[in-house]
Every structure is written in structure tokens, then in C-alpha cells.
Symmetry: C2
């Protein structure tokens, strides 16, 4: 390795996590609805006034902390395992998942967004995993939970969790993305941070039993049974159709484990369907039933919701696969570059069709592209972290990333996406995201004409 | 896939997490010190009396929960993001890291063990990551933390965290194991669960700057500078020598990220050295200084502690690499198989020399071996999850795993290990672990003659 990097005095480049409070976000969303495109300026002005001056450099050369030892270098620290389950540092208190800025009517049928701008690598800590509930979340007693297989099977059956957890399990890293992720950007609403543009996205190591194992055990008709219905136990009555071909691949899991421990309650504890590459709504939480059938069920959440309105007024159904997509998370909207010089541009890429093959990055709004480094291992239907070096000259810049997957599919521009899909969709927006770095160093979300 | 598994009525096979309380553990440890080999029987008898009868099957066929809908299927659940950072289910409250059963004099200079018997896959949730402190842990303000490079370098330098976090970073999955892991087993002390035998082991996705990047920036003498000293900022004054060859490989990281978020305070927030394959004591927490030099420093924690006493009375120094090792985590000590029939034997394998190549499993104390499945991706100096099918006939069984790494090194038996190392070591015990499944279904830790 031979890296030669000119470093300017370091400055704050982390997102000021608290730069928009709940009320400010609602104001921003309201202004956006009214078509005002300059609402961000106002938001940033408000934010800047609340920004603490980074104390880091003020003390740099003759830092008293280096000359006189701090308490932690001389004193006795805290004891082990005070509560048996650790927590993040108090200095990270602002790294939080955040509720919808007015997208939903209630906080039970709602979402919270993962703080992508503050995360590293590909694993999403389970405490920061995005949430999407249709009728609130529950903490269900696993000893009482039951899972049933019925329909076109020789031996319908009810399983306890203990029975399921005795079966051969696999563990695999996969992303999950809500079909509505980046949904507000279909119009010209440019929400301020990548937490809100792309934060209905997370990635975990899931552990569970391949659904095909259980279907074979129950004697499912795998020839005529072309589909299954998956049903959740919560009050939303969530049901979704899954094609049997996906299940036969062995990828679809009856999952109970996430990032090494049991699923979290808000993500379906004790049992969730994992459907790699498919939008999150099909990853049924609190899974209680699988029915084998010979045609799609046209359930309410595939007939009325989770459909794509096309320019000709027709709608697209069963468009479940999350196409190839990427986003730069650093620098991204809401962050501030306080000095020019070297920065590492970093972000996430993913595809519901397999592995990410390549990510290109532009700093001039798509005129010139350079190919980014991909962090190994690059796994199928999993987030891939990319990064590329950048020396910021202090002038305004338009940062974009464009991912290509192993099928050869290239992430589209907004112009390309809208030519096919129009502007009236909610779901499946995988267009290239643009972040404007202003001369002030402030980064904002913009839509290029 | 074509799996044909005879399933008996499901029964409890998870570890009864609370089967030993703190006092019971101390009693067990005291008895063990007195040479009593039957102490486990007493422990299990005590535990069994406190075991809840699994309610799962009692309700099986005509389960009223299936006929009458539970509250969670009809009511309104909880709202999103009540605190911005989620927690595990209340039903998982007993999945905890647990303090040392009397290994150390204080709880500041002490350890806590990860509950391996309850974990899946390879990622250790950061809240359950094992702890090892030499003078307690601290939550250090990252804005005030400084990192210095000095010694055989052209331009000594002090970095702020902001400066470090601007540099090109990488993210990699690695295990960390305390050199003293499985230390109590050198004698004939058979501690009851794999949490206590092997729980000073965890695995995370670490993010940080390769140390070589920073050394090159400071103009380190990479020809004559054969070693570096790494120094922590906490009161223990922990210092360790790291060979420059390891650093030149690009593997050694100045890490600030762990499993997607910042390091946890008890694991070195805001900066820790990551030294893949090397025992945990060298992964200096609260890292404040790297000095480049031309010979090892013979610091107290490499000259007095963390040395291996050999049979001839000499001691081995700088034996830092964690050799190839494995352990079956399910079924393991403290768990109870309440019925015969199919079980999936599952465990973890790792090597400080590279990738795990193969894991063999025996259920008859090492007379016959079958090769286990390895979960992909198999990564270098990272945990690898293995599993193998097993139909338990209800008779007593001796379960073992034996790992082989890509160098061809095979994990030794206790007989083989002791022939070279004797019985008086504390560190670097990588022998094959044996779990006895008794006819009662109770699993206990045994040392074969």
C-alpha cells in the first residue's frame, strides 16, 4: 500500500444529528408540499445557529489533554457487565432511528428510518434497523407462538418455535429495503438527509430454516403449487404472495435470528419470513402461516397497496424485486465539510437480482465518472460498501453514485426512470441520488433538471 | 434440496440461561478448586428444580391460542421508535454476558463472557461482546481524544478523531479472542457452559484506517522499524509490541467502527487497534499512541503476564497468534435435550492464521468423525459457523469438533496439547472440547482421559 494524502487541519464532517428537530422536519415537509424549493436554505440557517463549534482543533497543538493526563488515564474505570447487555456511548446519543416526518397518519402504522449517514460497513446494528409497522409492533411470547403450513400439502402441520429451531438452519447476510424507500423523491420533494431519502434500508446476518425444508417435510405439491401465501400474526392481517421458484432456490428463510441474537420485537420476533432481494413488505413479521396454492392471492397489500401507478394510468402489480441502487452516505445531505482537502466518499450499493458488480462515482453531476473500491466480501442480495478518494477544492460539487449489478443492469438517472415510470409512483424509486456540496461546505439534496 | 428429517415432538433445547446464579457459580468454582469432579451433578440437580416445564407442547394439538385469536392479532400494537434505539425482547432477558465466576479479584480488572450458547451465525451483537478490562472501562469524549505517532518516523504527529475519520477506511469481519479463553480448562476444572469455557470470543465487522496508511503519512522507517508499540489511554497503562510485518500486510486497523456503529465504550471507544488473528490483549483499547522502534518492548503485559509456562519451567513469550480452534455451541454444557430424534449440531471455528478449511464432528468422543457444513462466506481470521445433522438415539454421547485451517494445522486433542505445553499454562488453550450428552438429555463439560 502506498497512500499519499495531503491532510488539511481536520474539521467536523459528521452529520450534526440534531440539526433538524421533529417540528423543523414537519415545517420542511409542509414547505416542500407547497412547492417551495428553497426550504432547505432556511433549514440549514436554523441548523447552523445551533451547531456547536468543533472543539477538536481549537485545542490542537498545545492541547492540555496531552500535557496533563485526563482522569481516565489515572483513575479506576467502571466494572464489567453492569447490566449484562451493553449500550452505545453517551456521545453517540444522537445516532438514532427517526420517525417519519409526517408521511403517515399514526405512529402505529408508520415507519422509522435508519441513520445511514452515521453508519459504517454493511451491518446495521439491530437497535438502529429501520421499522415499518402496519398496526404497531408486539413482543410475542415465543413459547406460545405457532407456525402453520397448509394448502396444497399432504400433511398440514403446526410447529412450535422449539420444533422449528431444531431443524437445520443457515445464516446469511441480506439487505432489506421497504418498497417505498426514497418514495418522497418521486416528486420534487428533496428531503434533507439520506436518513430520510434512503433510510428504509438495513442489512443483517439472518439465521433460520429454509422454507423449502419445511414445505418438503409437509409434502407440499411443488409441481402445481406455484405460489405460497405468507401471513403475519399481528392485527394488520398482512398477507403476501411469494413465487414458489424463489422458495425452491433455498433462499427464502423462516428466520428467528438477526445479527447473532433473536430477532428484535419490532422486526418480527420470534419468526419472520426473509425473502432476499424482494421488498420488505413481503418479509412477513410475526409469521404464523404459509399456505401453498396455484395462483397469486391478490391480497389487499398487493392489489390496493404496494402497486406502481404508471404514466398511462394503469398500475403495475407484483413488482416486488428491488432493482439495483446505490447512495453516497458520506458526504450526504445535512453534513458539513468545514475545510477543503482530502475526503473519502463512501456509500452503499445493493441489488435484488444478485451481487453488485461495480459502482461509479461522479463529483460533477454525472459528466465524469470514476470507479469506486468495493469492500469484500461482495455478497448476493446484500449491501456492498463502496468508497473513493476525493480532494475537495472548496468549489461547489454534485456528488452521485451509479451501481451496476451482475446482470448488467445499470442504476438509472431520474430522467431515465421517469421516462418509463412517470412521476406518480410511491414505490421502487432506484434513481441516482445527487448531493450538492456548496462552497460553504453544507451538503444538500438536489434534483437535477 | 431434499431433506428428510424425522421430527419427534419438539422439546426445549435452549440453554436454561438462569440455571446457575452468581452464588451457584462461585460454589461450583470453589468445589472445582477442591478437586471435586462431581460438582456438576449437584449444579444440575439444583437447576432442574428451577426449570419451567416447557409449555409449548402441553398445548400442542388443541392449542387455544390457535382457536381464539391472541391480543396481538386483534389489537393495536406499539408505536415506532419510542426511544430511537431498540432493545431485545423481554423474553430474551436472560441472554446476557456474564462476569467471571471468581477468576479475578475485582470487577474493574475483570472479564465478562459472551453467551455463545444462545448466539447464531458469526456476528456477535455489540451488547453481548465479551469484555476484558485491566483497570475498568471509560466513556471517553471523542472530541477530546488524541492519537499520536512517534518514534522512528520523520514527522511525528498528533491526530484528532475527525482527522482520522477523514482518511480512507476499510470494513472487515474478524474474530477477537482473549489469550486466556478456555484457560480454566488447562487443569481438570470443567466449567459448566460454553459461555464460561469459550465466551471470551466475539466477532464483529470492524471499520477503520489501516495503520500502515498513517505510518506512511508520518514517514515511518519501514525498513529498520521492525516493531511498533501500541499504548492505551486508560489507567492500566496497557502497552503491547506489534510486529511491523503484520502492519505492512494492511490488516492492522485503527478502528472506530464496530458492527456498523461506533465502538462501544467497554470495547475501546473511540479508537481501538484491531490486530486480526492475534490475542485480544494486543487490540489496544482507547488507543492513544503508536511508537515505531527496532525491537520488541518487553512491556509488563508481554514479559510478566500473557506468557506460557512450559513443562520444563521456561516460559514462552510473544506467543500472540490464536491457533486454529473450534467449539460446539449447540448442544453444549448446561443445555438439555428433552427428547431423542433430530438435532442440528452447530458451532464456531476460527484460526489466527487465515481461513478455516474444514471442521469434523464426532458424537462418540473422537472415534468416528463426519465433516460438517461450513456457512459461507468463510473469511480469514473470522469466525466460521459449522453445522451437521444428528439423530440422537437417547443414549449417552460425547460430542466434539475438530477444526483444520488453510495452513493444514489441525486442532489438537488435550493429550496432544499437553504433551507439548504441559498443564500449567493460562493462555492459548485451543484443544478439542468435549460435551457429554447424558441419557437424561443433560449436557455437561467433561475432560476425556
Amino acid at each position: 500500500m502506498n497512500v499519499n494524502i495531503p491532510i488539511e487541519p481536520g474539521r467536523l464532517r459528521k452529520a450534526p444529528e440534531n440539526f433538524l428537530d421533529r417540528q423543523a422536519i414537519q415545517t420542511v415537509a409542509a414547505q416542500a408540499k407547497n412547492g417551495r424549493r428553497d426550504f432547505l436554505r432556511g433549514a440549514f440557517t436554523a441548523a447552523a445557529s445551533g451547531l456547536a463549534v468543533p472543539v477538536a482543533l481549537a485545542q490542537s497543538a498545545g492541547d492540555p489533554n496531552i500535557l496533563t493526563l485526563p482522569e481516565h488515564s489515572t483513575g479506576l474505570g467502571q466494572a464489567v457487565a453492569t447490566d449484562g447487555y451493553g449500550k452505545p456511548s453517551k456521545y453517540e446519543a444522537n445516532v438514532q432511528r427517526r420517525p417519519s416526518p409526517g408521511l403517515t397518519q399514526t405512529r402505529q402504522a408508520s415507519v422509522s428510518f435508519a441513520p445511514l449517514q452515521s453508519l459504517f460497513g454493511i451491518v446495521t446494528p439491530s437497535g438502529l434497523h429501520f421499522e415499518r409497522h402496519h398496526q404497531g409492533w408486539w413482543d410475542i411470547d415465543p413459547a406460545k407462538h405457532r407456525f402453520m403450513v397448509n394448502g396444497m400439502v399432504k400433511a398440514p402441520r403446526v410447529f412450535s418455535m422449539d420444533e422449528l429451531m431444531r431443524l437445520p438452519a443457515v445464516s446469511r447476510f441480506h439487505f432489506i429495503e421497504c418498497g417505498a424507500n426514497t418514495g418522497m423523491e418521486w416528486g420534487n420533494v428533496a428531503v434533507p438527509t439520506c436518513q430520510y431519502t434512503h433510510g428504509m434500508l438495513s442489512c443483517s446476518e439472518f439465521t433460520g430454516v429454509p422454507l423449502i425444508t419445511v414445505l418438503e417435510q409437509c409434502g407440499a405439491d411443488l409441481k402445481n403449487g406455484k405460489f405460497v401465501l405468507a401471513e403475519g400474526a399481528d392485527g394488520s392481517g398482512m398477507t403476501r404472495t411469494i413465487p414458489m421458484d424463489l422458495i425452491k432456490s433455498g433462499e427464502v428463510l423462516l428466520a428467528y435470528g438477526q445479527n447473532g441474537e433473536m430477532l428484535r420485537p419490532e422486526n418480527g420476533y420470534p419468526l419472520r419470513l426473509v425473502v432476499p432481494g424482494v421488498q420488505g413488505v413481503s418479509w412477513i413479521k410475526y409469521l404464523r402461516r404459509i399456505e401453498v396454492g396455484d395462483k397469486p392471492w391478490a391480497a389487499k397489500d398487493e392489489e390496493v397497496h404496494y402497486i406502481d401507478l404508471m404514466p398511462d394510468g394503469q398500475h403495475r402489480q407484483y413488482s416486488s424485486i428491488q432493482e439495483c441502487k446505490s447512495v453516497v452516505t458520506t458526504p450526504s445531505g445535512g453534513q458539513v465539510l468545514l475545510d477543503k482537502g482530502f475526503f473519502s466518499i463512501s456509500g452503499l450499493a445493493w441489488s435484488g437480482r444478485g451481487k453488485v458488480k461495480r459502482v461509479d462515482v461522479s463529483v460533477d453531476g454525472g459528466r465524469n465518472w470514476r470507479t469506486a473500491r468495493l469492500e469484500a466480501p461482495v455478497m448476493s442480495k446484500c449491501l456492498t460498501r463502496f468508497s473513493i478518494d476525493w480532494a475537495w477544492d472548496g468549489k461547489s460539487a454534485l456528488i452521485q453514485s451509479r451501481a451496476t449489478d451482475e446482470t448488467g443492469y445499470v442504476q438509472p438517472t431520474y430522467q431515465q426512470l421517469r421516462a418509463v415510470r412517470g412521476k406518480r409512483s410511491i414505490y421502487h424509486n432506484n434513481a441516482i441520488q445527487t448531493w450538492l456540496v456548496q462552497e460553504s461546505g453544507e451538503v444538500k439534496n438536489v434534483h437535477l433538471a
